[in-house]
């Protein structure tokens, strides 16, 4: 069973007289553990699609099953619960709370968990994910004491803390230089490989999109290309082969 199953999904915005068809009937299956890039220029509908995948918005038509559950007709509060437990967001602008320690930022999603969680458990969980993203020595730092790459890693830790089904990264490298971008993308790759979390990377940049196992390209509210690639793994084995030949 795919973790995400979308059928004939459409989203129309009514802005006064004109209806804007942002997404015009999209079907897509994403199996668990896949690393998918969704690429497209601005206005292609990829952001709207991402909002629906992230349960921030509801489709006008069509269905969206997340881990087998139809989430396309849920109420605002139900969507909030789904976001909290199933989806980890990583944003372009990091969106960390200012003047709040890395640890407190990472604990934030745990505060909104159904059933609640004891403070000590929250702290333990947050420390564990901060350790997983390599920031064990920065837990009490405030965002303005951290570099852009470190801030984005705090944001990734925050996305992971509730052990979500999917990691939804919206232009996660947009505010980072190329070396730091590489680090962050490697982190996604590693998390995907090690814990099998489904990663969905939304970007306008084809070079970034190539880091995914699969590239889904949007244009005018429709999927125009959907390719599985052997990119990273292939590149890795090529490098290994090269190393072997030289060695």
């Amino acid at each position: 069973m795919p973790v995400i199953a979308v059928r004939n999904l459409a989203k129309t915005y009514s802005t006064g007289a004109v209806d804007v068809h942002a997404v015009r009937g999209v079907s897509l299956d994403i199996p668990a553990g896949e690393f998918v890039s969704i690429v497209g220029p601005s206005g292609s509908g990829k952001s709207t699609f991402m909002h629906i995948l992230g349960c921030l918005d509801r489709p006008t038509r069509g269905s969206y099953h997340l881990e087998g559950r139809d989430v396309s007709r849920l109420t605002r509060d139900q969507l909030a619960e789904v976001r909290n437990s199933k989806i980890g967001f990583v944003f372009q602008g990091f969106n960390l709370l200012a003047r709040t320690s890395a640890l407190d930022n990472v604990e934030l999603p745990l505060l909104y968990r159904g059933g609640g969680m004891r403070a000590a458990d929250r702290r333990r969980r947050a420390l564990a994910v901060l350790d997983a993203v390599g920031l064990a020595d920065r837990v009490e730092h405030l965002p303005n004491q951290l570099s852009g790459g470190q801030q984005q890693r705090v944001a990734i830790a925050r996305a992971l803390v509730n052990e979500p089904a999917i990691l939804l990264a919206d232009e996660p490298t947009g505010n980072l230089d190329s070396a730091t971008s590489r680090e962050v993308l490697d982190l996604f790759r590693r998390l995907n490989a090690e814990s099998g979390i489904t990663v969905i990377l939304i970007t306008h940049d084809h070079a970034i999109a190539r880091h995914g196992d699969r590239v889904v390209e949007f244009h005018d509210g429709l999927i125009v290309r959907d390719e599985r690639r052997a990119s990273e793994r292939a590149a890795g084995s090529e490098m290994q082969a090269a190393a072997q030949t030289t060695g």
Binding site: A80, L111, Y112
Partner: protein, 408 residues
């Protein structure tokens, strides 16, 4: 999200902008402390009045001749010759609850002692007056029944009169004073008592037998008196005794039913109630004015919360994306507003208490700590937080997460 977690989140959010938090609370602090101070001052004044009146005797009943409401011509209280010594005896006979009685007739005149003189109240009264007024004799003795029978020219001085005629603390017992060219012998000095229920100085008085005032000073006919001072046997009984006195006097004066009284019966409770009502009105007025600043403080909180919601739109969007429900956001902002107003309220109570204490110790203004006003102020502060915090909080809760995350 649990209430405890909500409070923690709200406290952290407030801690992130301490200056603003402090300034917002200041509005509340000033409002609450103003209310507390005003009410404390009002209560203090009220308690002082009550103490003074209690000092005059708690079960005191005064009957005065004449009545404001009688007939077309106002006779003026005490002016009409409607009370007599026989009335006093009738009350003594018929009203067992009237424990002590003293006929009263007074005048005002210049009093001369050696080379000094003083204008004062000369209160003609009866031997039971010190018992009625619960008043001790400082030196010498009060006059006795035989002085009254013989209209003896004896005088008991109030302490202020003694101070002015013989010097402060002097012992004038045995000395002579002149009133209207007649020589009176000083036989006693009353203990100092302070101001009376209406602010007049009770110690600025000379007591003589009422018969002496009637015959020697007024030189008028017969048995008319201007008032009767009575103490009821118990404060609980006072209204019943007062009613009985009225009935006896109406019978004495042959007043047919429907005819208004030609006398006035006033109990100490009447006076107390009247004065208390006056100060209560004043206290209410002052507290009302101070309450305006509470409302201004509340509006300050609402203003800051509205700014805060706009400023923190991205934070709200983020929290929603991470799973905060509308009500989580509502509660967070509501709790922030309540914390602002409650902490402001509690600090305001402390400050108001401090100011009241300061006024008492520096200016000697009487204040009383108003427990109910404190409860009211805390309640009002919390209510302000909820009332003025709800609108901004609801605005925050209604935000759309996508729009909020895009907000710059």
């Amino acid at each position: 999200m649990s209430l405890f977690a909500t409070i923690r989140v709200a406290l952290k959010a407030l801690g992130r902008n301490k200056l603003r938090t402090g300034l917002t609370m200041l509005g509340m602090i000033i409002g609450v402390s103003a209310v507390i101070t005003m009410v404390a001052l009002g209560r203090g004044a009220q308690e002082e009045i009550e103490t003074q009146i209690r000092g005059a005797g708690t079960n005191l009943i005064r009957v005065r001749a004449g009545n404001f409401r009688r007939g077309g011509v106002s006779m003026g209280v005490g002016g009409a010759p409607t009370l007599t010594v026989e009335d006093v005896e009738a009350i003594r006979e018929a009203v067992p609850g009237a424990q002590y009685l003293a006929a009263g007739v007074s005048t005002r005149d210049q009093v001369i002692a050696a080379n000094r003189n003083w204008n004062t109240q000369i209160e003609g009264t009866d031997v039971e007056l010190p018992l009625i007024r619960v008043w001790n004799i400082d030196r010498g003795a009060f006059f006795n029944a035989s002085h009254v029978r013989s209209a003896a020219k004896v005088a008991v001085l109030g302490s202020v009169v003694r101070d002015n005629l013989f010097g402060e603390g002097a012992d004038p017992v045995g000395e002579r004073i002149r009133i209207r060219n007649q020589s009176f012998q000083v036989i006693g000095v009353m203990a100092a008592k302070g101001a009376g229920g209406f602010g007049q100085d009770q110690d600025d008085t000379i007591f003589t037998p009422y018969t002496t005032v009637q015959k020697k000073l007024r030189g008028r006919d017969g048995t008319n008196i201007s008032g009767i001072t009575i103490s009821a046997d118990s404060p609980d009984n006072i209204n019943f005794v007062a009613d009985e006195i009225s009935a006896v006097l109406r019978a004495q004066h042959d007043l047919p039913p429907g005819e208004p009284d030609d006398f006035m019966v006033r109990t100490q409770t009447d006076v107390t109630t009247m004065r208390s009502q006056m100060t209560q009105t004043m206290t209410g007025l002052l507290a009302g004015i101070a309450g305006v600043s509470l409302i201004v403080g509340g509006i300050g909180i609402m203003n800051i919360m509205l700014v805060s919601v706009t400023e923190r739109t991205r934070e709200i969007g983020l929290r929603m994306a991470l799973g905060a429900k509308g009500r989580d956001v509502l509660w967070q902002f509501l709790v922030e507003a309540i914390v602002l107003s409650l902490v402001g309220g509690v600090v305001g109570i402390g400050l108001g208490f401090g100011i009241s204490e300061g006024l008492t110790s520096i200016l000697q203004w009487p204040t009383a700590f108003p427990a109910d006003a404190v409860a009211l102020a805390v309640g009002f502060a919390a209510a302000t937080g909820i009332f003025f915090g709800f609108y901004p909080a609801r605005q925050a809760a209604r935000l759309d997460p996508i729009e909020s995350l895009r907000f710059e």
